[in-house]
Amino acid sequence: MVKKKAMLIDITLCVGCNACQTACKEVNHMPVDEEKALSTTAYTALNEYDGVFVRRMCQHCDDPTCASVCPVGAFTKMPEGPVVYDVDKCIGCRYCMQACPFQVPRYEWSNTYPRVQKCTMCHERLAQGLPTACSEACPTGATKFGDRDDLLKEAYERLAAEPDKYVQKIYGEKEVGGTSVLYITSVPFENLGFRTTLQTTALPQLTWNALSKIPGVVTVGGTLLFGIWWITNRRHEVKEFEQKLHDTNHSNHGKN
């Protein structure tokens, strides 16, 4: 079985050099000018909070909300970790953007036949056994690529080694059921623009709770409706029949 890959981002090590964005833009053949927010031409971007830099990118959720909501299944979660988008399927309903709990997918609003854009976790490089371009470019090791299990273990070791420095939490370990991008930090996550109130179970279960009732609604509803129709219709027929009987009796009487 393939091992699930991940990236560990240690915010305390990031120096804000933007090498990750530049490398990403290069492998994805995008204009290399610096961008401060995620966009259709920036799959990753640095946000600064008082000298602390936070890399934003797709979290590559284990049970991705984007993949579950897409009506045509344009998103796939690969066993290696990446969540990838297939433009040839997409109909452009933007439900993925509406639903993503991290507000990651970006849309080509100015394009007349737009695509959804987001980090691919370099799945083509992964297939060749290479690490993601951004982690390879990172000069300080702030972004580290590896097996998710190993990285989680390493993150816990770092937290334990310097308990006063680190916030004792790995963001992405449990959020919406776990993700393939993990963050650790010395500044509380809430102050760095992270959503810390997200539930720890995967979101798709919420809609599945409703969707799984459909077979029941169809069979019970169908039977019920048919039953009601049968009864009311029967009543109707009986009434009509009695009326007819009544009428014929009457006319017979008249004849007699």
Binding site: L38, T65, S68, V69, C70, P71, V72, G73, K89, C90, I91, G92, C93, R94, Y95, M97, Q98, A99, P101, Q103, P105, R106, Y107, W109, S110, N111, T112, Y113, P114, R195, T197, L198, Q199, L203, P204, L206, T207, W208, N209, A210, L211, I214, V217, V218, G221, G222, L225, F226, I228, W229, T232, N233, R235, H236
Partner: protein
């Protein structure tokens, strides 16, 4: 007659203006893209085309399956005189929802992908299939009206033979997708303001759609009685208002219990924009019409009925817009105000609906009692029996 002409002149002019503006916006939308034509953004990807054109369009067409169930499943035949216009409203409503979607989808030519590329975990996938199938059902339910005009009795008979399964299918499909429009939002527990987000949204959507569907039956009967200068089936509409008030009551109780269960009642007094919008929606769309429709006097009064119905419809639209827009603005910290292109396209779609209804009703036997509408007032029994006769020849399924 002259007065009628001038009022029609006014509406005609308005329609022409709306259509011209809408066509221009259509050009902007398809030749310059969604960015140029809408105020949508990465943080606010769904606007009024989803909130109004889809959520309200589908919901307001709920009268179709409600009345079909009453007449054909519950066999309450006295409602037959209003079934055709109601089915027509529903059919046009659903067709226009699809038209609205073609504007909203970024890659509209790929819309058929939903047919062959399946994702059963997606609510949107389910809604797409239901709407597709229900459109077919509605087309078949309405077809006899068209066929009747061309005296194609054989085809009518064929459709009539499958009529009951067809009606049942229609009711089930409607139940599924009306509630699923609420399920669409189950996936955003964090993003939506908690006054609206609830695990019971599917049920709220379903019940409120039936209430709004009833209100639309009343509303539409009034408009067509005006436009076609025909009588009004007041006693039937009074009964529809009774169904409506029951639905509103059920809805209000469920909403209150749900807020209480989620310990969110305190939010009702927080001075925030969302609170005001919530109260506005509930007062206009539920509380006032509920009180009105519980009064027999108002139910039996033409003006009272009309005002009550309009309030329900307005409140319903507010509810859907609040869920799609107001409730989503806070978390994303965006304010979304639709662009004028979004407005003009929406208005164009609504106008197309009115025009289509007018012409279909004018040239096809939608109002079967039309030439005898004097009798409607004088003698409803007479009208009913006349209907019975007509029904033997043909009926909308």
């Amino acid at each position: 007659m002259k007065k009628l002409f001038t009022t029609f002149g006014f509406w005609k002019m308005t329609a022409v203006v709306i259509m011209i503006a809408g066509l221009y916006s259509t050009y902007v939308r398809f030749f310059h893209g969604l960015g140029a034509s809408t105020n949508l953004s990465d943080t606010f990807p769904w606007g009024i085309w989803i909130g109004f054109d889809v959520l309200c369009g589908v919901g307001l067409a709920a009268g179709g399956f409600t009345l079909a169930a009453i007449v054909y499943i519950f066999n309450i035949k006295r409602f037959e005189p209003i079934i055709r216009p109601t089915i027509l409203t529903a059919f046009l409503g659903y067709l226009l929802v699809v038209v609205g979607l073609m504007f909203d989808l970024g890659r509209p030519l790929q819309i058929w992908h939903a047919i062959i590329m399946w994702n059963p975990r997606s609510v949107m996938f389910e809604v797409a299939w239901c709407v597709m199938l229900y459109n077919t059902v509605l087309a078949l339910e309405f077809a006899p009206v068209i066929l009747e005009k061309y005296k194609m009795t054989k085809t009518i008979k064929m459709i009539k033979r499958i009529s009951i399964p067809l009606i049942i299918l229609g009711v089930i499909l409607s139940t599924l997708h009306q509630s699923s429009l609420g399920s669409l939002y189950l996936i955003v527990p964090d993003k939506m303001y908690p006054l609206w987000y609830s695990a019971y949204m599917p049920i709220f959507f379903y019940v409120s759609a039936i209430a709004a569907g009833c209100a639309m039956i009343i509303f539409e009967s009034f408009l067509s009685s005006r436009a076609f200068n025909r009588g009004l089936e007041l006693n039937l509409l009074t009964e529809i208002a009774r169904i409506c008030v029951v639905m509103l009551g059920v809805y209000a109780v469920m909403k209150a219990v749900d807020l209480n269960d989620r310990k969110m009642l305190s939010l009702l007094t927080v001075p925030r924009f969302e609170t005001y919008m919530y109260w506005f929606e509930v007062t206009v769309g539920v509380i006032i019409p509920f009180i009105m429709f519980t009064q027999r006097k108002i139910r039996q009064n033409t003006t009272g009925l009309f005002i009550g119905a309009v309030l329900v419809v307005v409140g319903f639209i507010m509810n859907r817009m609040n869920i799609a827009i107001t409730g989503m603005e806070g978390w994303t910290s965006t304010t979304y105000v639709p662009s004028w292109n979004e407005f003009s396209i929406t208005m164009m779609i609504v106008t197309i609906g009115f025009i289509a209804f007018y012409f279909i009703a004018k040239y096809f036997p939608v109002f079967v009692d039309e030439h005898e509408h004097e009798d409607v007032h004088k003698n409803s029994v007479n009208m009913y029996s006349m209907h019975e006769d007509l029904r033997k020849v043909s009926s909308p399924v």
